[in-house]
């Protein structure tokens, strides 16, 4: 938005946003009433926003509209949802375990195949997908396989990590540490960019207020 377009409303709201930004940054110095204010405000606002978001999207789409359209089978999850409310009563709280049971049962049942596929089979496929050739790429592929195997050995729980197994598992944890170091180093850029955005926002507001 160019400066001319701002009315009082925009000045106030952007000012609020700028002040709240500073309140959060003040946490870096130490915990203080301004931070506590912003923290509580955002907790309330976020809960209110999220509640209404769920109501107008998920509740309408998955409960109200289907039932209105005659999809009576949506009454079952709705009843299970209402059964969660028995937790307000000490005597009847156990009823909510039925809802929890469905919730966790579905989650676990779906997870088994999802995890096996994405985390195990896809990784296995990727690991043995390339031949070990007599060039740089082949050497790297060979090293990848050695590194995968040794890192897997590190995750053995039921054997003592001693002797040869201990040596391989040590290589494994070294490789894992390289991975973590790389992950850490790679993330710095994105995090700095986030801070740059906030600083540019504050700078923009100051320019808006006092002119370039």
């Amino acid at each position: 938005m160019t400066p001319q377009e701002w009315g009082l409303y925009e000045y106030i709201f952007n000012g609020v946003a700028a002040l709240l930004t500073l309140c959060i940054f003040s946490f870096l110095y130490k915990d203080n009433p301004f931070y506590k204010f912003a923290e509580r405000l955002v907790a309330g606002v976020a809960t209110g926003y999220f509640t209404m978001l769920l109501f107008w999207t998920n509740f309408m789409d998955k409960v109200y509209d289907p039932l209105k359209a005659g999809q009576w089978w949506y009454i079952f999850p709705a009843v299970l949802g209402v059964m969660m409310w028995t937790r307000f009563s000490k005597k009847w709280a156990w009823v909510s375990r039925y809802s929890i049971a469905f919730y966790i049962g579905i989650g676990s049942g779906v997870s088994i195949t999802v995890y096996l596929y994405t985390y195990l089979f896809k990784q296995l496929q990727a690991t043995i997908g390339f031949p070990i050739t007599m060039d740089i790429a082949g050497l790297n592929q060979f090293l990848v396989i050695i590194a995968v195997l040794s890192a897997l050995v590190y995750f053995f729980f039921s054997t003592p990590h001693k002797g040869a197994l201990g040596f391989v598992s040590k290589i494994g944890i070294y490789v894992i540490m390289i991975c973590f170091g790389a992950g850490f180093g790679l993330t710095v850029m994105g995090r700095v960019a986030l801070l740059v955005n906030r600083v540019i926002f504050l700078k923009g507001y100051l320019i808006q207020l006092f002119g370039g």
Partner: protein, 205 residues
């Protein structure tokens, strides 16, 4: 009745969802989407539990002198977001509700997120000390990867080659191994839950 049946339900639904995965027919697909809707619907309708927990704690704090103001702010923020959104149109851009979202929630969230720039530096300062072989490896890798931003002429070009190798070989290999481990661990946990071996999450009287 109060514990055994719920555990049985966990087992039956879990097993049903496991079988469903291997059946490609339309009704099997329907069961999948329908079951996901169950999870969503239970989650939404349970929302009052969370709200109650939050409101109760903060209403209680209204009596505590030092906390009164902050709890009032929280409750006020919650109420105003609910009251400004009693109609569906209020979720359109430009409404007061969405302005509160854009000028209160969004900047605070973005700022908390941006605190990471500071914390990543302080964590690096504290943790990246060559105390042990493991710490040294962690430190050196992070150092080399971060150093790709430092203009050092020909050294940078060599460093970039090393970085590319680190990412393609040890980093990728370790990622794969960790993922395989996670795959097995998560599957084991899910199976324990379905078989009723792990039931600590399910209360009893």
């Amino acid at each position: 009745m109060k514990r055994e049946i719920p555990i049985l339900i966990v087992g039956i639904t879990g097993f049903a969802m496991l079988i469903q995965y291997f059946i490609p027919t339309d009704w099997s697909e329907f069961i999948f989407t329908y079951s996901q809707d169950w999870v969503i619907v239970i989650g939404i309708i349970a929302m009052p539990l969370g709200i109650w927990s939050l409101v109760k704690a903060n209403v209680n704090k209204l009596k505590v002198p030092g906390e009164r103001f902050y709890s009032a702010v929280l409750l006020g923020g919650f109420l105003i977001m609910v009251l400004t959104c009693l109609k569906e149109e209020s979720r359109m851009a430009g409404s007061f509700h969405m302005d509160l979202f854009n000028y209160v929630l969004v900047p605070i969230q973005a700022t908390i997120f941006s605190l990471l720039a500071f914390f990543i530096a302080s964590a690096a300062y504290r943790a990246f000390r060559a105390r042990s072989i493991l710490a040294t490896i962690l430190l050196l890798t992070a150092f080399l990867i971060m150093a790709r931003f430092i203009p050092l002429g020909p050294i940078s070009i060599i460093n970039l080659k090393i970085d590319a190798w680190i990412l393609q070989v040890p980093n990728m290999a370790a990622n794969r191994a960790i993922m395989m481990g996670i795959g097995l661990g998560a599957t084991a946990t899910a199976m324990k839950i379905i078989l009723g071996i792990e039931r600590t999450y399910m209360g009893h009287d």
